[in-house]
């Protein structure tokens, strides 16, 4: 949005404190939501937990269409609706809560760079796996994506979304990649994250930041989602410090709130398996 509109929104945001009835919307957990959307949603939930801001998760079949940017998750706070992690971080900052204030300029640059790395490689690899790998598309994605809708709408919506994602992959040059190459890229990304994390509890030592939330969202979802093959989760499991990192954040921020977040940590349908 334009600079003026953004400044206006920030001013509106700063005017009110965080309400009790803030809601986060995503697709239906059991039947509909896909790997990449679940990862994004979990990242936002983790971020809000880290900021100590209460939010309840609401599952709607048409969450994608309600969202102002077409992407899930989005939060409904007061009378404003904000979607995707980047704008949500800015919105929360305008309300006075921030996780990255203690970082200096170089560290902030590094944090932004690593967040772009996760979006560029991990998220794109997840999208590729879901929409461009024929086996996964047939067995998992198409049935799940259109599940709330009757035939033929479910098939039409699934094909439309697939066409859109494939166009995007072609534009950024991922259409020519094979599954092995994509998995190799995921491995490279995980290696970079693992090396950056090292033996520290969080990426920027003592305090978690939005980068930790984003990485947790993606890695936890990859580790706990059953796909047609286990190759993706195997790539992540190779790095012990990353799995320990996920477990630590799960225990610290999600286990105390079973009522709200039981879906994310506990096993549900055949698609999910416990992180153990």
């Amino acid at each position: 949005m334009s600079l003026v509109a953004e400044a206006f929104m920030n001013q509106l945001a700063a005017a009110e404190p965080w309400p009790e009835n803030a809601a986060l919307y995503q697709q239906l957990k059991e039947d509909q939501i896909l790997l990449s959307d679940n990862a994004s949603s979990l990242a936002v939930q983790a971020f809000l937990q880290m900021c100590n801001l209460p939010v309840r998760v609401v599952c709607r079949a048409n969450a994608e269409y309600m969202s102002p940017s077409g992407k899930v998750p989005f939060i409904h706070v007061g009378n404003q609706v904000v979607s995707e992690l980047g704008p949500i971080v800015q919105f929360v900052k305008a309300k006075g809560h921030s996780l990255s204030d203690g970082l200096d300029e170089v560290q902030k640059a590094e944090m932004k760079a690593y967040m772009e790395l996760v979006n560029n490689m991990l998220l794109t690899a997840e999208l590729y796996l879901q929409w461009c790998d024929d086996v996964t598309v047939e067995e998992i994605t198409h049935p799940r994506y259109g599940s709330p809708y009757p035939w033929p709408l479910n098939r039409i919506l699934a094909y439309q979304k697939q066409w859109e994602i494939r166009r995007k992959m072609k534009a950024i040059g991922w259409a020519g990649k094979s599954l092995e190459q994509v998995l190799e890229d995921v491995d490279q990304c995980c290696q970079a994250l693992s090396q950056r994390l090292g033996t520290q509890p969080y990426f920027f030592n003592k305090q978690p930041t939005e980068l930790d939330a984003l990485v947790f969202g993606h890695l936890f979802t990859i580790l706990t989602t059953q796909l047609t093959t286990d190759e993706l989760s195997e790539k992540v499991k190779n790095y012990g410090n990353l799995t320990a990192f996920c477990r630590r954040i799960e225990q610290q921020y999600f286990e105390g709130h079973d009522k709200d977040n039981s879906g994310t940590a506990a096993p549900r349908s055949a698609k999910r398996s416990l992180l153990r």
Binding site: M1, S2, L3, P68, S69, G70, K71, E105, V106, K108, A109, E110, K112, A113, Y114, E116, L117, N119, N120, M121, R167, K168, A171, I172, G173, Q188, C189, Q191, A192, L193, Q195, R196, G198
Partner: protein
């Protein structure tokens, strides 16, 4: 290691070895790691490859994308990242992702989508280097691909018009430049005193923005306000590509020399003609023999009256 390696890529202008960011990245990495590459710039002939550019050809192996080319060079033991720690290697990957996500859309827009820039600079330049009749089709195709990429990656709602998308991508690009400037600080390269892969990528993306003269230059103006990034580009150009900062390449010097040579030849011819005229005048009986014959370079007409006056 002994196999000769050839790189095919777009040529350069305005003081750069190449205008294409990816070609520039590969060339810079080759210089940093000391890899012996012969660079073939794409010209008007039909022999040049038509696929992705840049392309590395080594014996029978053909590799096309920058990341793959760099991997290949590393496997051949031309490694510029030898002294980096594991964490610095991870940082490299992260910053390259940042460049691709935030800076590349604005770069593509400045070169290929912005109407004034495209029509007055980019299209003629590229069309002059592609053989006819491909030159009628290929620049347009590259422009459409660039616009497509920008719209598909950045153009979703809530941005509904191209001008809003443009505003957003330039804002992202300026923020990215600021972040890079903060990260570079006062050191010479991003990881100490020796250049690495990250320096090659940053140079590849920044140098075209910095040097190419476009009519619409908001990104260049922003870059010029970050002196450490400008110094970074200039340093690499002078140290590794042996080009002066003002942009005169050695080939530029040669043309200047050639012009000077031509001028000297002309002057010499003139003076020969004048000598002949002198001789003719000497042989004619009206004039006494001259004592001084030094005024050769002056125009022929002036000499005779002067000589009539001399004793």
């Amino acid at each position: 290691m002994a196999a000769p390696m050839e790189l095919s890529c777009w040529g350069g202008d305005w003081g750069l070895p190449s205008l294409h960011p990816e070609s520039l990245t590969v060339m810079a990495y080759a210089k940093f790691s000391g890899a012996p590459l012969t660079v073939n710039t794409i010209n008007n002939s039909w022999r040049t490859p038509k696929g992705d550019v840049p392309v590395l050809i080594s014996e029978d192996i053909v590799i096309s994308q920058p990341a793959k080319i760099l991997n290949f060079l590393r496997k051949q033991k031309y490694n510029a990242d030898y002294e980096l720690s594991a964490k610095q290697g991870a940082d490299t990957l992260a910053y390259i992702a940042l460049l691709e996500e935030k800076l590349l859309p604005a770069l593509l827009h400045t070169f290929w989508v912005e109407a004034e820039n495209y029509c007055s600079v980019t299209k003629p330049w590229f069309a002059s280097r592609i053989p006819f009749p491909l030159s009628l089709y290929l620049p347009g195709k590259m422009s459409r691909e660039a616009l497509n990429r920008i719209l598909l990656t950045k153009g979703g709602p809530p941005l509904y018009s191209l001008s809003e998308v443009e505003a957003q991508i330039y804002r992202d690009a300026k923020e990215c430049l600021n972040l890079l400037s903060k990260r570079l600080g006062t050191s010479q390269f991003f990881f100490g005193n020796t250049p690495t892969t990250l320096d090659a990528f940053v140079f590849g993306f920044l140098a075209p923005v910095y040097k190419v003269c476009f009519p619409r230059v908001q990104l260049q103006e922003h870059l010029k306000q970050l002196p450490n990034l400008c110094r970074f580009c200039d340093d690499i150009l002078t140290c590794y590509f042996r080009l002066t900062v003002s942009g005169h390449s050695p080939s530029g010097q040669d043309t200047a020399d050639a012009n000077l040579q031509k001028l000297t030849q002309l002057v010499n011819k003139e003076s020969n003609l004048i000598e002949k005229m002198d001789d003719n005048l000497r042989k004619s009986p009206q004039h006494p023999p001259r004592k001084l014959t030094t005024l050769k370079l002056a125009a022929g007409g002036e000499e005779s009256p002067l000589n009539r006056l001399s004793p």
